[in-house]
Symmetry: D2
Subunit: 259 residues, 4 copies
């Protein structure tokens, strides 16, 4: 179980979201309120958009709370779309290629959750990757595989359809192998202009997901970044949120049932 | 606040003490029961004695729970004296030179606790180091400095006297600068034949210290390594324990009031 | 192109082989004489046998010359079979799972060389892995894959046959895809009792391989570990060497044409 | 001996200077033409100015050529003043606090070279630091100490005077201890508006220093970043260069004899 936040809106610096207060992402890395393990000390990462169409990526396998470079970047980078992630490994080793976000072309993806009994399912799911996506894998996490299944499934043309197809693919693989352990996940996906956030579980225990914001800026988070719970709105399980940042800078939002 | 254990006795492998159960040192690194911060994710280390008079040292600034090399070494090294340590930084950066144990010649030292307002006191204390010890410093922690003050104070000839002189030196420096924050510490010190363990605080909140064992093997620990509390004996504050491993292999123990 | 040495014989400490002189393995890491890139700064590793049937493993993605733990271990570990390796990446990222040696049960493997156009061949080759071996992969190097192909091909029962089958498998995959770039390699393989060393290339440019020793101890190396070239015997290309350490401690040696 | 470049001028992306061609900074890290050791694999770093008055800092103790984050940052950061550095340790351990650039408030400093017999001189030189600078030290390199001596010597008010005073301080300390080994250095110093570059040696073997540019942008480098030597102008030993970036964006340059 990991913790993440995704930001879309007016260009901003994200240092306070990562480092200020008892519920910042870095504080959650050490003491999360809602995550099962409580400690997310297995890596941290940032993705951001600058002038280039391809986003920038920073990933480090050490704990976010003691990473001087993560602190520097969160203070000095300014962007209209930010992804930030702290990782609690569910088995895969502590190496930067297993850290989030993942990038492909102009796209970023990050993830919290787990595919139950993933080692049993991995080979079947990797068979369904395009050759290009199979070659692009750098690690062996379910997160990186989910992203590449989505790419194989046409994400760059129709992200919502690709999300649905990918989740179904995983559910079918679980069914085929008779896996009991659930597939639980929150996803954040962006191309720098739109942002999609999914809360999903194959059972009734979907990982938490919240949002806060207005038409000028929107945050989606694994758990609230401060104590003022009333300011955060919980996303219902089985929901897909879409945020579009219009040329005027306004963020439009759409909520739909996922499956 | 860090967690550590020290072993002296019949040669053994230490893997179980580091990795087995909910209270092993690695488990304490993620969820300590008695340490203030709860998470000791800022490095791990081992010291051990083989045929060479100089002990071996392994230190890594990453969390113990995800360090594959620490796991390998705790499984494959066999020794009659082991030090193992997981670190929670009290400010100094996450680099291997700040990780415990510290070594000088045939001596090993490790530490839990903190000198209150250490940054204010550091220069005064470093002035009291011999030139040789000043040159030998690799980092800037209070732990490494305490060890080098002890060496300067004649530790290799009379370790108990050096321990007392060093603690007094720190207390005098605190007094001189009017520092209110306490000096709280547990120390483990060894030359591969004898082992000294100190529980000290300048106030009445000394960090916890326990022991368990018999004449063939003895463990001293920051906190119990399993749930069976009855098997662990708490060391009183302001106590200095000495363990001598005789040529026959028997470990003799002596307890004295420290100051 | 990497550099490695393998030792079998009377139990010994390997520090001098890794650190002494201008041609030690650590010196080769910075300035190799025979390797194409010249610098092998992409990781270092050790494998060794202690009392346990499973060998110990130490791997670190940083340069060998600045790794304090590698130095400690090479000074303090004593073993009758040692593998030591410094890595120059041919593309795969600098993470410990891509470092040599690789281990499976009681077996160790390390490798120098490259499968030409490996990214194009990887998927076809991975298809030929058993499910168990597919699951066991931690990285994406040709080296780790070669080891798992050998395991799939029955290495634990008949290592020589598995070596031959695996090299043929790679050559067939190259042929099938019309790959021009050669498959060049030296392999070291051991189960702690016997050691196999292979020098192979699909063209006439096999990576260098040398040996030195006598019935009490044998070294196989990528390139000589000192300047006294006359003491090192070059292994002919397309040769497979087998070293058996008998119960009396004597190392018996056999040389055969590989394919 | 390290390699570095400093840029001042029109805002730019620095990726090509770090990664393109056989003489880029990353290529120099693996195969420097002019540096004694030839390999600068002991860390890499960037400093840059964004909107904040305090510059951003990225430092990593691994080799620049295999650091994915250094690559990302050099591609995505845009700035009018950049410092980039690759490190070859002259003895101090491979940890991020020993990597360049060093920062204090709005100032950045980086360095190539060595104070001969530095371990013997270190204590005397550290005695001359202000309490604030003594406390601020994070590592034990001559480079970090030189920067803090400069700060103690009034660098923030009069950088040229502080440079001179600091170099004299080191020369006096050498004289006092009878050190024969030379003090050889190139310095780069900036506050984000002006940039100072010094080439100095106490003997006639000053480390190389070159420049290239025009009033819109200026590069100062340890050695040329491409093969076209004619485009690079060597800086004479014992020279201090000052570059001022005026509000209009023009870079004015002044050369003077240093001592």
């Amino acid at each position: 179980m990991c913790r993440w936040f995704a930001y879309i809106g007016a260009p901003r610096i994200i240092e306070d979201l990562v480092y200020e207060g008892d519920h910042s992402l870095s504080a959650q890395a050490m003491h999360s309120t809602k995550a099962k393990l409580g400690v997310q000390g297995d890596g941290g990462g940032l993705g951001w958009y600058s002038k280039s169409s391809e986003p920038g990526l920073y990933r480090n396998p050490g704990p976010a709370w003691s990473d001087p470079n993560l602190r520097e970047l969160s203070r000095h980078l300014e962007s209209h779309v930010f992804f930030a992630h702290v990782r609690a490994s569910t088995g895969a080793p502590n190496i930067f290629v297993n850290c989030h976000p993942f990038r492909n072309g102009e796209w970023l993806f990050m993830h919290n959750g787990q595919i139950g009994d993933f080692p049993i399912l991995r080979r079947d799911l990797e068979k369904q990757l395009s050759d290009e996506c199979y070659q692009a894998l750098q690690g062996h996490t379910d997160s990186e595989l989910l992203f590449h299944l989505m790419i194989t499934n046409g994400m760059k043309k129709d992200p919502k359809a690709a999300l649905r197809k990918t989740v179904k693919q995983v559910e079918e693989a679980r069914l085929k192998k008779g896996i009991q352990d659930a597939f639980r996940a929150t996803f954040a996906l962006t191309n720098g202009k739109s942002l999609w956030a999914l809360r999903w579980s194959s059972d009734d225990m979907a990982p938490s997901l919240f949002k806060q914001g207005d038409p000028s800026s929107m945050l989606v988070v694994s758990e609230p970044l401060d104590e003022d719970i009333s300011k955060w709105q919980e996303i219902a399980p089985n929901s897909l949120l879409t945020f579009d940042r219009k040329d005027c800078g306004t963020v439009e939002e759409e909520l739909e049932i996922f499956l």
